[in-house]
Subunit: 428 residues, 2 copies
Amino acid sequence: MSEPLRLGIAGLGTVGTGLLKIVQTHPDLLAARAGRPLAISAVSARSRGKNRGVDLSDYDWEDDPVALARRDDVDVFLELMGGENGPAKAAVEAALASGKHVVTANKAMLAIHGQAMAEAAEAAGVALRFEAAVAGGIPCVKALAEGLAGNRITRVMGVMNGTCNYILTRMAKAHLTYNEVFEEAHALGYLEADPTLDVGGIDAGHKLALLASIAFGTRVAFDAVQLEGIDRVSIADIEQARDMGYRIKLLGVAQMTGRGLEQRMQPCLVPAKSPLGQLDNAMNMIVLEGDAVGQIVLRGAGAGEGPTASAVIADVMDIARGAVLPTFGQPASTLAAAPPACSAAPAPYYLRLMLQDKPGALAKIATALGDAGVSINRMRQYGHDDIAAPVLIVTHTTSPDALAHALAGIEATGTLVDPPVALRIEEV
Amino acid sequence: MSEPLRLGIAGLGTVGTGLLKIVQTHPDLLAARAGRPLAISAVSARSRGKNRGVDLSDYDWEDDPVALARRDDVDVFLELMGGENGPAKAAVEAALASGKHVVTANKAMLAIHGQAMAEAAEAAGVALRFEAAVAGGIPCVKALAEGLAGNRITRVMGVMNGTCNYILTRMAKAHLTYNEVFEEAHALGYLEADPTLDVGGIDAGHKLALLASIAFGTRVAFDAVQLEGIDRVSIADIEQARDMGYRIKLLGVAQMTGRGLEQRMQPCLVPAKSPLGQLDNAMNMIVLEGDAVGQIVLRGAGAGEGPTASAVIADVMDIARGAVLPTFGQPASTLAAAPPACSAAPAPYYLRLMLQDKPGALAKIATALGDAGVSINRMRQYGHDDIAAPVLIVTHTTSPDALAHALAGIEATGTLVDPPVALRIEEV
C-alpha cells in the first residue's frame, strides 16, 4: 500500500464534522478504493472546546487555518469554513502557494476568486476541486467536467437551493404565502443568518456561475448572473400556474447564445410533469444538455452533513488516486472572458393581469399584446369579485424585449388594478 | 500542448460512427479540455466499403481488430464491436497485453470476462474503462466509482434497458398487450436480432452485475443475477397496479444484505410518483444510495449514437488527462467473491388473484395468507364477469419465503381460475 494521503481540515461545522465521520467510519473502504490510506494530520476551527460529537484527539490542532494550510504534513488542504474572503481565502492562497492540493465547499469564494485560485493551483501543479460547492451530494461538477467532456454543452439548468425549493413547495402544498412560510422556516431554524443569500438567489447564483464556467470554457462571471429571488412569488401565481400545468421553481439557466453567455437565476415556470417540475421540498436537481448526450438529469440532496461531506471526500479520493484535473475543466489560462448576453433567449411567458371589470378591458390588453408582436397561446379568465378579474395568459415564444414592450403597452391602457406579473416559462 | 493521444477504433456501427463524429466535429474543444489533441490512427470494422456518413480517409484501415489493438501508433484501443467472445475478447486481450488502454461499450464481454480483463489491465498499468456499457450516456459508472467513492453503498437500482421501458410504457399508454407491442416494435426495427437479450432482461442484467461489482467491491457475478424478463407482464397488471398508485418497471436492484449479495433484474412495482415511476419511453435511470449521500438519481438516454459515444469519449478524455483508475473502483485483486444471496430481502408484494365467483372463496384466500404469516395492507375486488373476480392485494413487507408459502396455500384452496400473479414492490 502506498503512503497515506495526509489531510488538513479547516472548519468543523456541519461539513467538516461530516467529513471526519466518513474518514473515521470507513478507513478500510476508503483505503481500498483510493489505493492508499487517508490520514488526518491536523484540524482547525474557531472554537476548540466545542463538542462536535467526533473524536479529535488523534489530530493536531491549529488555531490559525493559514498555519494549517502550510504544514509540512498536509498534502491536501480542505477549506470548509466558508466566507468569500477572510480566513478562507487567505488559507486557500497559502495552501496553493505551499504546493498543497485544495478541496473546498466554498461557492461564494470561488464565484469571486475562482479564476485567480485556479491559475495559482495550475501554476503549482496541484488540484483545486469544489464538487461540494454545487448541489451538495450530487456529483454534478464531475458529471459536467468529466462525464460530458466530449460534448459541446448547450444548456445547464438547475434547482440549486434547497431552502428556496422547500419554501415554494410548502407554499404550494399548504396554501401559504411567502411571508408565512418564511416566518415558519425562520422559527424552525432553517434559514441562514442572512436569509437573502438563499431567498435572494445569491447562493444559487454562485453555483450557476461555477457550472457555467465549466460548461462553456469561460471565466467565472458571477457579476453577470441575472439574479431574482423568490420573495415576490405569490401563492396566486403558484396555484394558477399549477392550473395551467406548470410549477414555479427558482431555476438557474446558463446557455451560450449568439448574444453571449446568458446566466439567469430567477423564478420560472416549468412543466409540472418534467423532472424539474416534480422536484419537491429541499431536493436539488441539475440538468445538463450536450450536443451528443442529449439531456442528463441529476437529482439528490443539495445540502446537509452527509451529502456535502460525500462530495468533499469524492474530491479527496480523486486526488488520492492521482487525478489532477484543471479546476474548471480546462487550463485556467485558456478560459475565455465571455461577453454577458444583454438579453435572455426568447421563451414563452406566463402573464397574470388583474383586470378592471369594465367592458372593453380585455380587448385593450389583447391589442397591446398584438401591437408588441406577442401572440397568445392560451388564456383563462377566472371568476372574480367586483373589483378585478384575474386573467392568465401563456404567450407563444417571444423575446424579452417584445414582452417588455407589451407589458408597457398593457400598463398604459389603464385597465389593470395591480402591476402585471410576468414569469418566464423554461422549456425543459 | 502535449503529444496527441492516439486512438484505434474497432467497430464502426452506431457507437463507433458516433465517436468519429464527435472527434471530427470538436477537435479543438476536446484538445482544450484534455490538454492534448486526440488523434485517430486506425480503424477496423467488418465491412470496409460501407457508407457510414463519416470520412475515414485520414485513418489507416485494419481488417483484423487484433492487429489494430497491437499497433505501435495506438495508445487507446476502443472496442466497439460487441459480442462477449470472439474478436472483441481477442482484441481487448491483445490490447491489454500490448500495454494499451482499453475503452469498451461491451457489457456482455465484461459481465463474463471483466475480472480477468481488469487484472490484465492493472498488471499492464493501463486503464480499462466502460462507462458506455451501462446506461448509455448517463455517467453512472463515474458517479458510482468516483463521485460516491466515500460512501458505503447500500443499494443500486435502475431501469437499464430502454427497449423494455419503451414496451412497458407503450402497453400502459396505448392499452396494448405485450405481444402487440412486441410485434409493433419488431416491425419498426426497434428490436435486436435476438430480442431475448432485451426483453429477457439479460442485457440489463449484464449492466447490473457491472454496477454491483463497483458498488460492493465484489467480482462481477452475472451468473448470480436473478433474471426475469418482461414477457409475462400483462396489461391487466399494468393497469391495476396503476390504479393502486404504482408503475411496473423492469427494475434492477443490487444490495448487500446479511444473506449475501442480492442482484435482481425483474418486473417490479414502484410508486407512480417516484422518479423511477415517472420514467417513460426509452429513457434509463440509475439510482445510487450511499450511507453519506442518501439517494442520487441519474436520468438520461441509455442508448443511441450520440449518448453512447458521449460515454465512450468521456473515458478517452479521462485517459488523455492522465487518470488511470481501477476498472471496478478498487484494484481487481482486492475484489471479493461475494456469496450470492439465496433469497431476496423482504418487501411488500402486489398479488393479482383471479378468484372463482363462489361464496367463501375470498375467506379461503385470506386464511391462506394469514397462515403463511403474510398480512394484507390493501385489497380491492373489481367488477367481474360470471367466471372470475379479479382480486388485488398489496401485502405488508414479507419475506419471499413466506410469500411462496402463501401462494402455494392459495393455489391449494382450488379457488383460482388462473395461477396467481405476484410482483415485488420495490420501495424507492
